[in-house]
């Protein structure tokens, strides 16, 4: 909070105002641009790698907006200090939970700054998050009405239910979050037979026939030799990366990778270097340097190099440049770990994820990871790959040894929904869902752009970030949309860079055209109200966040 207010000079770097020409040189793979020279640029660089146009645009932050955003944070911080001062002198009532009297002389449990942010900024707009719902998280949800009489310090439930809110927030890409139909029936049957839990780990007494069935199906779905499923998506990353790499290995990780990948990388003890988001030059430079220079200090060559990328980045809506990543990975003999948490089911003509989207061979990705939370409407995660890899994980994965295995009814939900996507249930329903999602995505994104919003990401990505920038607009957008019966996700610092607060829509195959049109109409209205239509349609649309030549490095001791 204090940082941006203290050094406004950092602003041109942070929002990528360093010039379009600059960006085009470094990150010049964007296709389908109005400017013909950039088009040529693309062709020169990527010849045959892409089989279809790769439209990914990031409009840069208008300078005025950036400045105002910083001013906004500055004002908030000032008021924060003022109110903290008042609280200290007991002029204003402090509503924080407090330490026990007996433990007042202990070292404080958490840091002041975290507290400051929570008390003075997050608390003002806290009602935009953790909204409790009480129905299926489908295209429309029912929400529990809650009010706060003390500026969000506490919430009271009125007991009323707000019905039929259009759900633009859940990751229900293919619409399998249902409480009727084949999936629910199958899950109900398994639930009555097996019960809800497992009460053991895979390696001890928790390896059910259902798990084996699921894993065979996943392998078939992904087109890999073998697969393994885990009880939690987050833990799939954080508990398996440490099994794959360790000391003396190098991890190259995209700067916007999910917290679970970051945690897994840290727990592994390997050296971590970060490359710029989806920036292939940055990745190649790191790869080349790593192999040429070897490990720092000891100068030994790296044992192995693992590249961590995601299929769709959940905050940017961008799609990984997989063809280029694979080309680089092959050239530099490194291994590729692809996290398809958001892309599995949501991309590709038959929902097989980003590999299919680009028409690539799944064998070229060493570790195919994904989750069941999103497209499959269940919970958990998987890893697919060569048989040797999965055998190794079955033996050494932290999850297989120490954590409870997947709940049987959840397994059944995955099996049924996956079979449906594959068309093995004898219907074309799954395929239609995949197509519907792709259509919804294109339509929704195109309309939003036409309205003049700044929209990030790839035109085929069902994750659609709409830029809000200013901190006050985070809360305002969330509330105004809810007033109009639309549930949206808004995100600000620390999940995004400090000035790039945004709203995020997740499209679903369950959204009908009417639902989308209603949503679009309301979004446009709120957009006018809050003056969110920032776009100048100046699509020199490269995401050129600051790119200093130094690499961030993290070594675990």
């Amino acid at each position: 909070m204090e940082r941006p207010a203290a050094e406004p000079g950092a602003q041109p770097r942070a929002n990528g105002c360093s010039g379009a020409a600059h960006g085009a040189l470094r990150n010049g793979y964007v296709r389908g641009l109005p400017a013909p020279d950039t088009q040529i640029h693309h062709i020169v660089h990527n010849g045959g790698l892409y089989k279809k146009p790769f439209n990914e645009a990031f409009e840069e932050t208008p300078m005025l907006v950036a400045v105002l955003t910083y001013v906004g944070y500055g004002v908030l911080t000032l008021f924060g200090y003022l109110r903290d001062f008042l609280r200290q002198w007991k002029i204003e009532k402090c509503q924080n939970a407090t330490e026990r009297e007996e433990q007042k002389d202990f070292v404080p449990l958490y840091q002041d700054f975290e507290n400051f942010y929570t008390r003075n900024l997050y608390m003002r707009i806290r009602d935009s998050w953790n909204r409790p719902i009480c129905s299926v998280p489908g295209a429309k949800v029912d929400m529990m009405e809650r009010v706060s009489h003390d500026y969000n310090w506490t919430f009271m439930y009125t007991g009323r239910v707000i019905k039929d809110i259009i759900n633009m927030g859940s990751y229900n890409y293919l619409g399998f979050a249902q409480n009727t139909g084949a999936c629910q029936e199958a899950a109900a049957k398994v639930l009555s037979q097996y019960g809800a839990g497992v009460c053991s780990t895979r390696q001890e007494m928790g390896n059910l026939d259902k798990h084996e069935e699921l894993e065979k199906l996943i392998a078939r779905f992904l087109g890999v030799e073998s697969a393994m499923a885990y009880g939690m998506g987050f833990a799939t990353n954080s508990m398996n990366i440490p099994a794959l790499v360790g000391k003396g290995c190098l991890i190259l990780s995209d700067e916007l990778n999910h917290a679970s990948l970051v945690l897994g990388a840290r727990l592994s003890g390997a050296t971590i270097r970060i490359f710029k988001h989806n920036n292939m030059q940055s990745l190649e430079k790191l790869l080349k340097d790593a192999i040429v220079h070897g490990q720092p200090r000891t100068r030994r060559p790296w044992k192995k190099i693992l590249i961590l990328v995601e299929g769709i980045y959940s905050m940017e809506g961008s799609i990984v440049r997989l063809p280029e990543v694979i080309a680089l990975k092959k050239k530099y003999k490194s291994y590729l770990y692809l996290d398809e948490a958001h892309s599995i089911g949501a991309l590709g003509p038959s929902g097989r994820g980003v590999v299919e989207y680009f028409g690539l061979n799944p064998e070229d990705v060493d570790v195919m990871m994904g989750t069941f939370t999103k497209s499959f409407g269940a919970a958990g995660g998987y890893i697919g790959g060569k048989k040797e890899l999965i055998d190794y994980l079955r033996t050494y994965s932290h999850s297989a040894v120490y954590a409870a295995s997947l709940s049987p009814p959840v397994v059944e939900q995955i099996i049924t929904s996956m079979k449906c996507i594959m068309g093995e249930d004898g219907s074309t329903f799954g395929k239609e869902c995949v197509q519907q999602l792709a259509e919804n995505t294109r339509y929704f994104r195109r309309r939003l752009k036409e309205m003049g919003f700044i929209i990030y990401g790839n035109e085929d990505s069902p994750v659609v970030p709409l830029m809000l920038y200013m901190p006050a607009k985070i809360g305002a957008f969330g509330r105004e949309m809810l007033k109009r019966n639309i549930g949206v996700v808004v995100v600000g610092f620390p999940a995004t860079p400090i000035i790039e607060s945004r709203a995020r829509f997740c499209l679903s195959a369950a959204h009908t055209k009417e639902i989308l049109d209603t949503a679009l109409k309301e979004i446009s209205e709120v957009g006018d109200l809050l003056q969110l239509k920032y776009s100048r349609h100046r699509l020199v649309p490269l995401l050129d966040r600051p790119f200093d030549e130094t690499t961030y490095e993290e070594t675990e001791d």
């Binding site: 998280p137 939690m232 679970s260 055998d391 009814p409």
Partner: protein, 476 residues
């Protein structure tokens, strides 16, 4: 004065010039050479800098060409004991079918037998009908369901704490809770027998870790004293260094109970916070199943944070932390496994709520379990070749080899034969599995015997005598 000095200097100069004329030629030549030498020394580099080692692009390419990475994973031998899992067909309940053999289950942590409970199943079914399976989002983004709020409230009420927070995975609970508070530079005193989830949480926190000997309060106090004298040397640092003790109620790896009353004394003496992991003791110990605090009759507010998973007694999935709001609420923004993961499927939360109902309605269930634990604990004494480890009231006991036969690998194989023998005669057992290279203090190989309320006295006796028989035939 100035003039006098000037005259003096002049005289010195004159003398020097005179001496110059009078000096012999060889002397002058020698001096000249010396002066030149000094000049040379002054202007030449004393050592040669290494040649700049910039590689040409071609050399770089050769290096890249030359580099051969290790394979992504080393091959696993086909008969690795951990590679080939038992296959359980059908539900993993009291009667279990393992590798096509019907057995009585002495391996799953289904202490209260709630996995098979019709009421629990019905509650889960009702929830499934209302909400479907998945939540399709993290708690922050429309992944908070009314059942989650209800479960949190119920857990807090059950444990008699201010607040509870649920996680969607048991392992992630303590592993996320620790790094939410303990950061780089903080100090954590931890029992060396702590389970793997605690170890990972500590690693993620990057704090200073001080291991004390298992359940050894003298050793812990020694470390605390050491730290105290360290703090006195550097009081400024000490004022910002948080200190924690992390212990388990009942130890997963040993079946021992932690000496909580002594720990509380140390807590106030040295101003250290206590985090307690109760996955094994929650729903087992105490008159109402509230765990180790109730067992020892300790005010629960003296413990800063209690964490447990819902995968054992509650027979669901996930985990929870409870304590005062001041402590717990912090995790809602900084517990990684809470913020960044999809929330618990509602049907599992509903199952946990119903399990809590059953626990509240039938408090004698805990007495029954205790009785059974004690019965088998007695019956398993004095098996030749096997040593019983764990408290008499622990629902998970370890049978270790009295004498190792040399290598861990062989010990594991030997114990596997005991397990197989029992499995063939209808008692399902398992060895406690560990990642040998990853554990901080690797426990010796053991067979874990898990006691549940569903096991009848005959079954308990049968299991004990069968294990005895197996030990005799395999080990002697």
């Amino acid at each position: 004065m100035a003039a006098a000095v000037g005259v003096g200097q002049q005289w010195v100069l004159v003398e020097m010039v005179q001496a110059f004329y009078e000096a012999p030629a060889y002397h002058l030549i020698l001096e000249g050479i010396l002066i030149l030498w000094i000049i040379r020394l002054l202007f030449s580099k004393t050592y040669k800098l290494q040649e700049r080692s910039d590689l040409t692009p071609k050399e770089k390419e050769e290096l890249i060409e030359e580099w051969q990475p290790e394979p992504l994973v080393p091959p696993v031998s086909k008969d690795h004991p951990a590679l080939n899992y038992n296959i359980v067909s059908g539900p993993p309940t009291h009667k279990i079918t393992v590798n096509d053999k019907e057995c009585i289950n002495f391996a799953s942590f289904n202490f209260l037998g709630l996995l098979d409970n019709e009421k629990v199943k019905n509650a889960a079914q009702a929830s499934l009908k209302k909400y479907g399976v998945g939540t399709c989002g993290p708690r922050g983004f429309y992944g908070t369901f009314d059942v989650h709020l209800e479960l949190e409230e119920r857990l807090a009420k059950f444990m008699r704490t201010e607040e509870a927070i649920i996680y969607s995975y048991g392992f992630a609970t303590i592993a996320s809770a620790i790094p939410a508070y303990s950061k780089r530079g903080d100090i954590v005193f931890v029992d060396e027998a702590a389970c793997f989830a605690i170890q990972k949480g500590l690693q993620a926190s990057r704090s200073n870790i001080k291991l004390f000997k298992h359940n050894d309060m003298v050793d812990l106090e020694r470390l605390l004293k050491e730290q105290e004298s360290e703090d006195q040397k550097n009081p400024r640092k000490a004022r910002v260094t948080r200190r924690f003790i992390v212990v388990e109620g009942l130890y997963m790896n040993t079946g021992d109970v932690c000496p909580l009353p002594e720990l509380i004394k140390l807590k106030y003496k040295y101003k250290v916070r206590i985090f307690l992991e109760e996955s094994l003791s929650f729903g087992v110990l105490g008159e109402h199943g509230r765990g180790i605090t109730e067992h020892f009759g300790i005010n629960i507010d003296d413990i800063d944070l209690i964490s447990a998973n819902m995968e054992n007694s509650l027979a669901s999935i996930g985990g929870f932390c409870c304590g005062r709001s001041f402590v717990i609420d912090h995790q809602r923004l900084s517990g990684q496994g809470y913020c960044f993961s999809a929330s618990l499927p509602p049907l599992l939360a509903a199952a946990a709520i119903e399990a809590l109902n059953i626990m509240e309605d039938n408090p004698d269930i805990f007495q029954t379990l205790q009785g059974k634990c004690k019965r088998i604990h007695r019956a398993l004494q004095g098996i030749s070749g096997l040593k019983l480890v764990g408290e008499s009231f622990s629902p998970a006991l370890h049978l270790q080899l009295e004498e190792s036969c040399g290598s861990r690998e062989n010990d594991v194989k030997l114990l596997k034969r005991v397990v197989d023998y029992c499995m063939n005669s209808g008692i399902a057992l398992t060895q406690a599995r560990y990642l040998e290279k990853e554990e901080k203090c690797l426990p010796p190989p053991s067979i874990r015997v898990v006691i549940t309320v569903e096991q009848t006295e005959q079954e308990l006796d049968k299991a004990a005598s069968l294990i005895k028989e197996a030990a005799q035939s395999v080990l002697n």
